[in-house]
């Protein structure tokens, strides 16, 4: 089964098959060690010492971005449909869980999957309309969707309008308050990377890659392209919505400017493109690289309007000179370490 898919290329770039490469043990060893370390970090408080909460907070953000970029990759990478409004699902998830907490007293830890499903439902409805077109019209519709949703949330009194909504504080001891958020986000990140892997190695994923390469030919070959696109679009909303639920709760307030600004979408796009569009490991690599870079930049230079300039410049340079991203470029040169090769 995997042999067939190896021949297929993904996203922007043809992926040369890696013939005869023995699946070394390192392929499984490295991810296993990383996962184990990620699981153990919260237990290592005596080792980490003072910056413990800071470390966990960076971890939460990093894992969130891994989930967001891996999810975006389903539609933007595999299927080749750029969504510049994907953070709509982030906000919908955040607000769904937040509202359930404020009005029903349900913990976002329990309702995060539900928030994800609400995002999926919304994505499905939007996809029904916007995926009737191909190419630029779809991208334009995603920008319109983002501004439209932002406008609604800005003026909707029930959800607090532009002032937002304060959430009750989580019922945990102050010194260990970050731990549950960390594990929840870890679960979401693992889930979305695993989803990407499963999609990449399925007939569904094959169909998506066919659409990315040539939609007309895919259709001629008997693929119900519209259904596949809608499925990919809605599926890509799930973990983004769930991540929004946990992220909003961890901030303990919801505000449209946290969720519905195009900068959030820009980050998702950038991470996937840096890591490698349409690859399984790429989005996670891109997310880790950018979160690290961002942390360094903020601690060294402080945060300013120039951050957005840096985001733009990196995007521009990568697009022009390394359009395949880290994973794609390394594979192109035959230098991709086996633990990053999951396509």
């Amino acid at each position: 089964m995997t042999q067939v898919e190896k021949k297929e290329s993904s996203g922007t770039a043809p992926v040369p098959p890696t013939p005869g490469r023995t699946r070394s043990r390192a392929r499984y060893l490295v991810p296993a060690i990383v996962t184990l370390l990620l699981l153990l970090i919260p237990l290592a408080r005596p080792l980490i010492g003072q910056p413990y909460n800071y470390m966990l907070q960076v971890g939460i953000a990093g894992l969130m971005w891994v989930a967001m970029s891996s999810s975006w990759n389903l539609i933007g990478g595999f299927t080749g449909y750029i969504s510049l409004g994907h953070n709509v699902f982030f906000g919908i998830g955040g607000y769904t869980a937040g509202m359930l907490l404020v009005y029903q007293g349900l913990s976002p830890f329990a309702t995060a999957p539900l928030a994800g499903l609400v995002a999926v439902g919304f994505g499905f409805l939007v996809g029904l309309v916007t995926l009737r077109t191909r190419g630029p019209s779809f991208i334009i519709s995603t920008i319109a969707l983002l501004l439209m949703t932002g406008l609604v949330f800005d003026n909707w009194d029930l959800v607090g309008g532009s002032n937002g909504l304060s959430l009750p504080l989580p019922p945990f001891a102050v010194e260990s308050v970050k731990i549950p958020f960390y594990y929840a986000m870890l679960l979401i990140a693992i889930g979305s990377v695993y989803l990407g892997y499963r999609v990449a190695h399925s007939k569904f994923g094959l169909a998506l890659r066919a659409i990315a390469q040539d939609e007309t030919k895919a259709e001629v070959a008997g693929i119900d392209t519209r259904r596949m696109k809608i499925a990919a679009f809605s599926l890509s909303a799930f973990f983004v919505g769930a991540a929004g639920a946990i992220w909003g709760y961890s901030l303990s307030y919801l505000r449209p400017t946290i969720f519905f600004i195009i900068g959030v979408a820009a980050q998702m796009v950038l991470m996937v493109i840096i890591g490698g569009r349409g690859t399984v490991a790429g989005p996670a690599v891109g997310a880790i690289l950018l979160v690290t870079l961002n942390e360094v930049a903020i601690t060294q230079f402080g945060s300013s309007e120039l951050n957005i300039v840096v985001t733009g410049v990196i995007l521009l340079v990568v697009l022009l000179f390394f359009p395949l991203g880290v994973v794609g470029t390394l594979r192109d040169r035959g230098r991709l370490p086996s633990f990053l090769d999951w396509d």
């Binding site: 190419g135 630029p136 733009g312 995007l315």
Partner: protein, 292 residues
């Protein structure tokens, strides 16, 4: 009824300006298949040029057209030459243009915010608050002047496209790029010039809206979303569509604003976008994408 006609007048006046803003965008798409997400941020950039010419030198925003149009034409030539020839022939050209101009928009927005902060700005020439009364109706002078100027510029664009040799070449390229190349049109040159013209139109729009709509750098997302919605409604790449779409939606937005408050007027554009995608995805004057 009187009230309705008044709203109609205001809508049509604004529609003229929207048409100018959208014409550059749709020209770029028509000739080069470039979806220029940075169009809005360049309009805002031109607003700042007009603003500083007004504040420092006391130039009227209409006089600043003499600076913004050539300036942005040149910026356009530079941007085109720097970015787009590299990706020409890429199988995913359309998508690349979106991503590249998205990056460009982020960079420009960041630089503008850094240089001019996020404060609301606006030029305020004396006529900005005046109005002409005709019977029961009043026509705000600023809207009137800028609408007239927009129409003049649009007519100039039309005359250029229909009565000049370069204009012929531009239209030939819009119709069929390959065929144009075969009959000897220098497509690269035509594309560069078209991009420059599109940018000059963005520059002109900036001068004209600098006293109509207060601006700050991050405002451009709302503008670009509105303009893109409008050209999708008209049919991507169709100049006629852009003008009709602009007039139609400006009036509709005026009515919505009148009924539900100005907060919701952008909703008209987005609502129209989703509606048109539902019933006629290629837009009012668009053609279905040719297969192949």
């Amino acid at each position: 009824m009187t009230h309705f006609i008044q709203v109609l007048i205001l809508g049509l006046l604004l529609g003229g300006v929207y048409a100018l803003m959208a014409s550059g965008l749709t020209l770029m798409f028509g000739v080069m298949r470039i979806v220029n997400l940075a169009h809005g941020v360049f309009i805002i950039g031109a607003c700042y040029v007009a603003f500083f010419l007004f504040r420092e030198l006391g130039w009227d925003p209409f006089v600043s057209l003499a600076v913004t149009m050539p300036l942005f034409f040149l910026i356009g030539l530079g941007v085109y030459t720097l970015l787009f020839p590299r990706i020409e022939g890429s199988p995913r050209f359309g998508e690349m243009t979106v991503l590249l101009t998205f990056a460009l928009a982020l960079i420009t927005e960041g630089l503008l915010s850094f240089a001019f902060t996020g404060t609301f700005r606006s030029t305020d020439p004396s006529y900005a608050t005046e109005a002409i009364r005709i019977g029961e109706f009043f026509i705000p002078t600023a809207q009137f002047y800028s609408s007239i100027t927009s129409v003049i510029l649009l007519i100039a664009l039309w005359a250029f496209l229909y009565f000049s040799r370069t204009g012929y070449a531009v239209r030939a390229t819009m119709q069929n790029r390959t065929a144009a190349q075969i009959v000897g049109v220098n497509v690269r040159r035509v594309s560069t010039i078209s991009f420059g013209i599109g940018m000059a139109l963005a520059g002109a729009s900036g001068s004209l809206i600098s006293f109509l709509f207060p601006f700050f750098p991050a405002r451009h997302w709302q503008w670009i979303a509105i303009l893109l919605a409008l050209i999708v409604l008209g049919g991507l790449g169709s100049l006629k569509g852009a003008v009709v779409g602009a007039l139609l939606l400006a009036v509709a937005a005026g009515l919505v604003s009148d009924q539900f408050g100005p907060t919701w007027s952008p909703m008209t554009f987005f609502g129209a976008l989703f509606l048109i995608l539902l019933i006629r995805p290629q837009g009012l004057f668009g053609h279905r994408e040719r297969v192949g």
